[in-house]
Assembly symmetry: C2
Homo-oligomer: 382 residues x 2
Amino acid sequence: MTEELAKGLDGILVAESELSSVDGQIGELIYRGFSIEDLAKHASYEEVVYLLWYGSLPTEAELEHFSGQLAEARRLHPDVLLTLESLADADEDPMAALRTGVSMLSAYDSEASYTTGDIEASRKKGIRILGKLPTIIAAFQAYREGREPVEPDPSRSFAGDFLRMLSGEEGTPLARETFDMALILHADHGFNASTFTSIVIGSTMADLYASVTGGIGALSGPLHGGANQEVMRMFRDIEDSDRGPIEWVNEMQERGERIPGFGHRVYKVKDPRANILEAKAAALAEEGSEDRYIGYAQEIESHLTEMGLVEKGIAPNVDFYSGVVYDQLGIPFDLYTPIFALSRTGGWIGHVIEYQEDNRLIRPRARYIGPTEADFAPIDQR
Amino acid sequence: MTEELAKGLDGILVAESELSSVDGQIGELIYRGFSIEDLAKHASYEEVVYLLWYGSLPTEAELEHFSGQLAEARRLHPDVLLTLESLADADEDPMAALRTGVSMLSAYDSEASYTTGDIEASRKKGIRILGKLPTIIAAFQAYREGREPVEPDPSRSFAGDFLRMLSGEEGTPLARETFDMALILHADHGFNASTFTSIVIGSTMADLYASVTGGIGALSGPLHGGANQEVMRMFRDIEDSDRGPIEWVNEMQERGERIPGFGHRVYKVKDPRANILEAKAAALAEEGSEDRYIGYAQEIESHLTEMGLVEKGIAPNVDFYSGVVYDQLGIPFDLYTPIFALSRTGGWIGHVIEYQEDNRLIRPRARYIGPTEADFAPIDQR
């Protein structure tokens, strides 16, 4: 027992994990040994989730079975839809609506009770949760737009059906492929605050509904999720101004402000996920998607590279290009963080399942610095 | 940065706090310097929450204002009631129903958005949340019983109005006083897993709805909340058996089983909260409340004391008597953990507000022990 204060738990090793590893010095991200580049290029989100949860890439039969179960889970109970409609009517924040929607799912899962410790049961529960997230987000968006939600179609892929339910339109193969890739890139990233939240909750042997609901809550915080919305806000402000992107960031730097989408607690070079998304943004633009912001992004990156910032470790991170891509796909700004949650739920569930296999309740200490003795005075004598 | 693994974060000091301190060697619990005995005897739950959130006991005027705001917050939006009715119809677990109910509240809070860092705004948001928890639990119970929820009455105390809404009946002054005391005893207890969950979520500067929803999720885990339900299950099993309580626990010990309600991670002597509740249970029995289990509890405690277990640190904890008391008050078994959450919400909110005043994102590390390199094989070659 040490008396040193580990505020923020920086550098404290809280568990061992086989799921993912980040090397911020060389810009490398791996899931169970596979490079993020290989996975983004060759795999689907369903394959990656299988890899995270089961430990190896699936065979064709395994993938078919797994994807089929995920797709079958997509449909929501009518009472969940009613609640989402109420939340949309009340103009609820989309992350809060997702949190309530996921929390409510347990009521309609006949196997939801607290029988944890059974890894296969946990994976099946994970499928029932993850499968429903696209439908929750898309239905909430439909209600906000005053239309009926699009019914899920279990014959479609996770990414493709989400885009279709979200907009009511088919979309191009490149759009589906790009969105699938974005989900893969955000699926896991070590012990960030939301993943850690899910694990702390899981360490009480609470069920996965509790863990994922908590993860969404943590990701809703402005210090965690939401950075890609900040990037887009900057682009929109540039667009609405009479200044060009270079002038804009120069002024930000003169004011000593941080440029959104640049710099990362772990990466000291360009985030590998940013490279992948940048290429996809270019391809989408070539295909003819509305590309309001890719020019801004590339100009700003070139400029900051020339200025020597990128060399100093203030390099573009994943958020700098994910917003550009989501915007090209026609997704509303305030759904970017819910989509981050959608993708990261694969990681959260994988980590909780892994942690519970060799569980230990997470309970740190606080140093008490309040008074040690106080005399109680009756209320009329205070 | 140390390479030592701190699994469970045992003994790791993660923050400083002025809220509460536990001395397990002498059986002492204090809230901001005040002994739990003084607070239980002389204060109300509202006073104790004020103490935890504001740092000092309120004057009469402060308490009146604070209690009034809490009482005004009690009413639920009709759509929250509709969702609770759906959850009751689906036979949802009461802790999960409470989690969903609290998560949904943010939609009807016009100041719910993520403007954290303003301590007075956080306290006001805390009041709007805490005030509604009694109504959520009572309304859910009403729907489960097939009746309409009892309307809140802001002229009544937090504890008293909850008991009235829960059963539809007035209850005796002693019943209200006892329940108020039970709320005080459970309001805070250092950095347990649910309090820590609330703080991790709060450290992303997510709002209090996210933190409290996460805390409820953590408390739902069988390793954390729910121990008093285990005690009651034992008493019920004894009642249904042909054996007396002493015979029963002797047999448990022969099988090497832990006696529910005995022993605690922190207390090495009798939990001070157990003493207070035991006295109240006796008083309620004297008043004529149905006292099925107090005899069992006292017989078992005497027996284990004679056996020398209590001396060895296997002493009665708060859960050993709280269930007895709740049962005397006519509260259904599966609401004991939601009531624990109701009370502890006061502590969760107090801790998050305190932590966010000098915030640092909580983000530990995991030691990666998976493969460092894996070659991606196309799916037909796996």
